[in-house]
């Protein structure tokens, strides 16, 4: 059933295939695309960290980083260099293998999710027909890394953080999945390019009006919880657990957790944009004649959603662990199921808004 294709920039594809024999061209293309995506990943991560710090500063009557580079723009690069040069410490009697494995689990799942995102019409590495399912599946693999980190650290604070993470991710997975299933009912496909295609006659949040709006709100709450960000940052819970599951990590291993958090935030925002706000489509098709602008539309919308998540973080206090579960199982899940039925009825009776 899997149909995969490397759609990344057709001209590059054609160029490579005209130059090299097909097998070699395919290999070269894979390596090239891999390098490009790794670069995007690193740059996006660093940029998001800087953005977060600047946004937080604006919320908190501060200036934020403003010394390194123009207006502090090189600050996160400097931080990354600092982290690279730091000693990698560990604890005695820790499970060394799992301890070292954990950061890679977290970072690799975050990186894999990037592959299916449709940045523009022609810029998508891996357009599988179960794209959305793939994204949800990946987001649950990341939690294994966090559990391993907590277990391998030989630290009770890290362990409590990791157990909280397990509970939280398993619970909120349901809401993320169900709110996306609600939208899949409307879009009629799991393939991301298809979902975008459907939205040429209006973004899904407009097409689906009330149930779509409810689904979006649930998705944003559950998505924030999935990425372990405030107000759902019980996993780290600075004032309760020190640094939670990554208490014992230093240097680049810590940086992996840190970067993964921001990339995950980007991915959740990107999913929201793909499913609700038309991905790379411009509003009312104003730049339809210039398809290369799609990347900018996609990134622009994504960063707006990211800003929304940052706004959450710098405004709300943290929930308690039992309140977190109450919210999911007693409120979000029933609401989600009712919303699913509402969406089914809406689609069945053809009450959607089409342009």
């Amino acid at each position: 059933m899997l149909t995969s294709s490397l759609l990344f920039i057709p001209s590059l594809h054609d160029f490579l295939f005209s130059l090299l024999p097909p097998g070699l061209a395919k290999g070269a293309e894979m390596v090239l695309v891999g390098i490009i995506y790794l670069t995007i990943f690193a740059v996006a991560g660093l940029f998001l960290v800087l953005l977060e710090r600047k946004v937080a500063a604006r919320f908190q009557l501060r200036l934020g980083p403003n010394r390194v580079g123009y207006g502090g723009s090189m600050q996160t690069l400097a931080d990354a260099l600092k982290l690279l040069s730091k000693e990698l410490t560990g604890t005695v009697r820790a499970d060394k293998f799992l301890f070292n494995l954990a950061p890679y689990f977290v970072i690799i799942t975050a990186l894999m999710a990037l592959a299916v995102l449709p940045f523009s019409q022609s810029m998508q590495v891996f357009d599988i027909n179960i794209g959305l399912f793939f994204l949800i599946a990946l987001s649950s693999v990341g939690v294994i890394g966090i559990l391993l980190a907590g277990w391998g650290s030989n630290n009770k604070y890290a362990m409590i953080g990791a157990m909280r993470s397990g509970v939280q991710t398993i619970s909120y997975e349901l809401s993320v999945g169900l709110s996306l299933v609600t939208m899949v009912l409307l879009a009629g496909s799991l393939q991301l390019s298809q979902i975008v295609e459907v939205q040429k006659s209006g973004w899904l949040i407009v097409q689906g009006h009330i149930p779509a709006l409810i689904a979006f709100m649930i998705f944003m709450i559950a998505g924030t919880a999935e990425t372990n960000r405030a107000p759902f940052d019980l996993v780290e819970a600075e004032s309760e657990l020190g640094a939670g599951f990554h208490t014992e990590y230093s240097g680049m291993k810590f940086a992996y957790f840190f970067l993964a958090e921001f990339i995950n935030m980007f991915i959740i925002a990107a999913i929201a944009v793909i499913v609700f706000f038309g991905a790379w489509l411009s509003p009312f098709g104003i730049t339809e004649s210039l398809p290369w602008l799609g990347v900018f539309w996609f990134l622009g919308k994504t960063f707006l959603v990211v800003l929304l998540m940052m706004w959450f973080r710098w405004t709300f206090p943290r929930l308690r662990v039992d309140q977190l579960l109450t919210l999911e199982w007693k409120y979000l899940l029933p609401l989600n199921l009712a919303n699913l039925v509402l969406m089914a009825v809406t689609v069945w009776l053809n009450l959607t808004i089409q342009f």
Binding site: A56, F59, Q60, L61, R62, K156, Y157, I160, A230, P231, D233, L234, A237, E238, S239, E240, L241, G242, W314, T315, F316, P317, R318, L319, R320, V321, D322, Q323
Partner: protein, 373 residues
């Protein structure tokens, strides 16, 4: 016949965890020995002594003027009030009547430092509950108070402005104008505090019904200050035993009956409003006159026992001096509010979650050097 074996029930075990002395939520070097069952707290045992500096012993070999400088280091967020407690005790023992100007300025500074202390508490309270932004809002306003202190006393935290017999210097010419400016500013910012934290639904869920202390227990544990008043125990020294210029002003004692963390929070917010009201009544009419009455260079207290209590931002601070007629006290004992307030932590935190413990500790508003001395 084979019998079916029943799997034993999953065994859970209580475990022990060290919270502190280096922990973000203990605000200093307090060490809590927690016994936990999963997330649920079974026992909290405070372990003190990490910042013990023998202040009471040091007092015994210092002159009364020098003792005042040590009191800054008790509850450093109410340093001026601590200074005043010793000064009042010494003045009462000597039978010195300080000028009206001194009394008014002392009370104004008392209330300013109370606002400053509560501001810091409010910011840190938000931080403990995971809302970092409140910290910066509070520090913006606290900064203005610190600037007033800096101009008036030369110090921002450890003030040492009081001396037996009055004030070290007269107030700065800008003092009145800047205090008025601060009051006008702060009255527009206090409602902002409510909008950011008090009205937040997550905040209310985290604090309501958490760490409930009954009135009876509050009295039994010797709770004072906002902790006692949130449980309906009217214990404000400023109301019951007014000192300095307090008899001249009218204000309402902040009282709640719920006794939970949210009540303690509300009491402090209301106290900030009351402090603003007290300063407003005094700032426009600071009497003219000397800022000090002359005392001997070497103060010798008459033989006897002297006690003075004041209301710091955390509660009742008592100073008990036993004098044998020499230039040093024979024994000096501080009754610090933080110590009694900490003693009830185990009583109210057991049964809650780790998050509840953090919220409860935040509303007890502990300052560790005040507990350890």
């Amino acid at each position: 016949m084979e019998t079916a074996t029943i799997a034993p029930p999953i065994k859970s075990e209580e475990y022990f965890i060290n919270m502190g002395p280096q922990h973000p939520a203990t605000h200093g070097v307090l060490r809590l020995l927690l016994t936990l069952d999963g997330e649920i707290i079974k026992k909290v045992e405070p372990d003190l002594g990490y910042i013990h500096r023998s202040i009471e012993k040091m007092c015994e070999r210092n002159s009364y003027q020098q003792i005042i400088h040590l009191t800054d280091r008790l509850d450093y967020l109410s340093s001026h009030i601590n200074n005043e407690a010793v000064c009042l005790a010494v003045e009462a023992a000597l039978g010195v009547e300080v000028p009206e100007r001194v009394k008014v300025v002392r009370t104004i500074l008392d209330e300013l430092i109370r606002i400053s202390s509560h501001c810091l508490w409010w910011g840190v309270m938000g931080m403990d509950l995971g809302a970092l932004t409140s910290y910066f809002y509070a520090f913006r306003d606290r900064e203005m108070i610190n600037d007033i202190f800096e101009e008036t006393c030369g110090a921002r935290l450890t003030m040492n402005y009081n001396v037996p017999g009055g004030l070290m210097h007269d107030i700065h010419p800008n003092f009145v104008a800047r205090t008025r400016e601060f009051l006008a500013h702060f009255k527009t910012k206090l409602p902002e505090y409510d909008r950011l934290l008090t009205d937040n639904v997550i905040f209310q869920k985290r604090t309501k019904g958490v760490g409930v202390l009954s009135r009876q227990d509050a009295i039994a544990f010797g709770a004072s200050g906002p902790v006692g008043r949130a449980s309906g125990y009217s214990c404000d020294v400023r109301v019951h035993h007014p000192y300095s210029a307090l008899p001249k002003v009218t204000f309402k004692e902040a009282l709640r009956t719920e006794g939970d963390s949210f009540a303690r929070y509300q009491v402090r917010i209301q106290e900030m409003w009351e402090s603003v009201a007290i300063i407003e009544q005094l700032i426009d009419a600071i009497p003219e006159g000397p800022h000090q009455v002359a005392t001997d260079a070497v103060i010798k207290l008459p033989k006897g026992e002297f006690y003075q209590k004041v209301e710091t931002a955390r509660g009742e601070l008592g100073v008990f001096i036993i004098s044998t007629g020499t230039k040093n006290p024979y024994r000096l004992k501080f009754r610090s509010p933080g110590f009694s307030n900490l003693s009830l932590l185990n009583h109210i935190a057991v049964g809650g979650k780790i998050g509840d413990l953090v919220a409860t500790m935040a509303t007890l508003d502990l300052v560790i050097p005040d507990i350890d001395r």
